[in-house]
C-alpha cells in the first residue's frame, strides 16, 4: 500500500504487439479500495491494459511496453522486478470461472502451498476465511471435499475469487468476471465486489456498461488504445466531458 492512496499508476504507458500499437500514452491513477471499471468497445485495449497490471502480457510474443507502471510504490516493469511477488500482490479473476480440477478445499490450499504462505496446520482456518469472504462458506462448508467442477458457475467464480484472497493481494483484477453468469448471479458478484472493496482495490474490465455504472466508483472509457476519459462513475454517467464518451455510454456506437 502506498502513502498516496493510489494503488496503480501508469505514466505515458505505450504497449505494442509487434508493429501494432495497442495502448497509447495511458496516464491513469487507480485509487485504493475502490472499484475502478474500464469500459470501451471491443479492441479498445481495456483487457490489454488490465493485463499490464500483473504483466500477463509478457506471455505474448513481440510485446513491448514503455512508460512506467507503479503498483503501490513499485515500478513493475523495472529490470529485476519480481514477477512471482507481483502476481501475489495483483490477483486476477477471469471471464470463465477456471477452478482447478481439485476439491473446493484444495483449490484454495493450492496457492498457499505454491507460495509457501502458511504452515499446513493453518490451512483449515485460511480456507474457511477465504470462503467466508466470498460468502460461500455457508453453502460449501459440508462440501469441501467435492470437486470444484461440480459447483454452479456462480459458485465457481466466487471460488476463483476466494482462491486469490489468501495471497493477500493489494489489487484484484477482474476481466469480464460476470460474462459467463446469468443476470442474478451477475448482481451477486457485483454485490460481492462492494464488500471486497473495503479491503482490496478492484479493477474490472467489462463490456457491460450498466455493470460499470452499477458496480464501480470510477470509470475509465477507452477507445482505440487511448484512455479517453477517466472520472467518478457518477460523473461519467451523468456529465461525461467528452462527446465520444457520451456517444458510447448512451449506446450510439460500440
Amino acid at each position: 500500500m502506498s502513502m498516496s492512496g493510489i494503488a496503480i499508476a501508469t505514466q505515458r504507458l505505450d504497449l505494442f504487439y509487434g508493429d501494432f500499437q495497442a495502448l497509447t500514452a495511458i496516464d491513469l491513477q487507480v485509487p485504493e479500495r475502490e472499484v475502478t471499471a474500464l469500459i470501451g468497445p471491443s479492441g479498445c485495449g481495456k483487457s490489454t491494459l488490465l493485463r499490464v497490471f500483473n504483466r500477463m502480457n509478457d506471455l505474448i510474443d513481440g510485446v513491448r511496453v514503455s512508460g512506467r507502471v507503479l503498483v503501490g510504490d513499485e515500478d513493475i516493469y523495472a529490470p529485476g522486478a519480481d514477477l512471482l511477488r507481483l502476481r501475489e500482490k495483483v490477483g486476477m479473476v477471469f471471464q470463465r470461472p477456471n477452478p482447478f480440477p481439485l476439491t473446493v478445499f484444495d483449490n484454495i490450499a493450492f496457492g498457499l502451498a505454491v507460495h509457501k504462505l502458511a504452515p499446513r496446520r493453518e490451512y483449515d482456518m485460511i480456507v474457511e476465511q477465504a470462503l467466508r469472504d466470498v460468502l460461500l462458506w455457508d453453502d460449501l462448508k459440508d462440501k469441501l471435499q467435492r470437486s470444484a467442477l461440480t459447483l454452479s458457475l456462480e459458485q465457481q467464480q466466487r471460488l476463483c475469487i476466494a482462491r486469490v484472497l489468501p495471497l493477500k493481494p493489494q489489487v484484484l483484477l477482474m476481466d469480464e468476471p460476470c460474462s459467463a453468469l446469468d443476470p442474478i448471479a451477475t448482481l451477486h458478484i457485483e454485490e460481492l465486489m462492494q464488500k471486497l472493496k473495503q479491503e482490496y482495490t478492484i479493477v474490472i474490465v467489462t463490456h457491460n456498461m450498466q455493470q460499470a455504472a452499477r458496480a464501480s466508483d470510477r470509470t475509465g472509457f477507452m477507445y482505440l488504445g487511448k484512455l479517453i476519459e477517466f472520472g467518478t462513475t457518477a460523473r461519467i454517467f451523468t456529465q461525461p466531458a467528452q462527446e465520444l464518451t457520451e456517444n458510447y455510454i448512451s449506446g450510439r456506437f460500440g
Binding site: L135, I184, L187, H188, E190, E191, Q194, Q210, A213, R214, T233, A234, F237, T238
Partner: protein, 216 residues
C-alpha cells in the same frame, strides 16, 4: 442479499429527505413565531436560512440523478426515486412559503400585528403535523395513512376560510386596517398552500406503493 449496496443508497437518500422535511417544519414554525413577536431579525435569519434548504434539495436531486444513471432502477425502485424527486421539490416549495411568511414579518416593520394570532398558529401546527405524518407514511409506505392525511387538508382549508372571513370584517369596519389585514391573509394563504403541497406528497406515496397516479 441482492443489490444490498443499491438498497443502502436508497435508504440514505430517504434519510436525507426526512431531515430536509424537519428543516422545513422548523422553518414554518420559526416563521410563525417570528410573526407572533414581529421579530424582524429572526425573520431575516429565516430568509437567509432558506438557502440551506435549497442546497439540500439540489443535493438530493443530484443523488437521484446519479441513481438513475448508474443503477438502472425499475418497478418499485424506479417509482421510489421518481417519488424522491417529487417530494424534494414539494418540500422546497413549502420552505419558500415559510420564507414568504418571514418576508411578511419584515413588511410589518415597526407596526404591531393587527390582532393577536389565534388561528394562524393552529394552521401552522396542523400543516407541520401533516408534513411529519406524510414523511412517516412515505417511509412506512402506508397508503391508508396517506389518504387520511389528504383529508386533514380540509381542516386547514376551513381555518383559512375562517381567517379570511374574520379579517374581512376588520377591513369593512375600518379601512385603515386593510394593509395589516391583507398581510395576515397572505400569511394564512402561505400556510394553506403548504398543506396543499402535503397532499401532493400523499398522492405521490400512493403512486410509489401502488403504481397508480391518483387524479381527483
Amino acid at each position: 442479499m441482492s443489490r444490498e449496496h443499491f438498497q443502502n443508497m436508497l435508504r440514505e437518500v430517504e434519510h436525507e429527505l426526512v431531515s430536509m422535511g424537519e428543516m422545513v417544519v422548523a422553518a414554518i414554525d420559526r416563521s410563525v413565531q417570528a410573526l407572533k413577536h414581529v421579530d424582524k431579525a429572526e425573520a431575516e435569519a429565516i430568509i437567509a436560512a432558506d438557502a440551506a434548504i435549497n442546497c439540500k434539495r439540489w443535493d438530493i436531486e443530484n443523488k437521484c440523478v446519479q441513481l438513475f444513471a448508474t443503477q438502472q432502477p425499475v418497478a418499485g425502485d424506479l417509482r421510489e426515486i421518481v417519488s424522491f424527486m417529487d417530494l424534494v421539490s414539494n418540500l422546497e416549495r413549502m420552505a419558500d412559503h415559510a420564507k414568504g411568511i418571514a418576508k411578511i414579518v419584515v413588511m410589518h416593520d415597526q407596526t404591531p400585528l393587527l390582532k393577536p394570532l389565534i388561528d394562524i398558529p393552529r394552521m401552522a401546527e396542523k400543516a407541520g403535523a401533516m408534513i411529519r405524518k406524510s414523511l412517516h407514511a412515505f417511509i412506512t409506505q402506508d397508503v391508508a395513512a396517506a389518504k387520511a392525511i389528504i383529508e386533514m387538508d380540509n381542516e386547514v382549508d376551513a381555518l383559512y376560510e375562517q381567517i379570511f372571513r374574520e379579517l374581512l370584517t376588520y377591513m369593512m369596519e375600518d379601512p385603515r386596517t386593510i394593509t395589516r389585514a391583507v398581510y395576515l391573509i397572505w400569511v394564512s394563504h402561505n400556510l394553506e398552500r403548504i398543506a396543499d403541497r402535503v397532499t401532493n406528497i400523499c398522492e405521490r406515496i400512493i403512486f410509489m406503493v401502488t403504481g397508480e397516479i391518483c387524479g381527483n
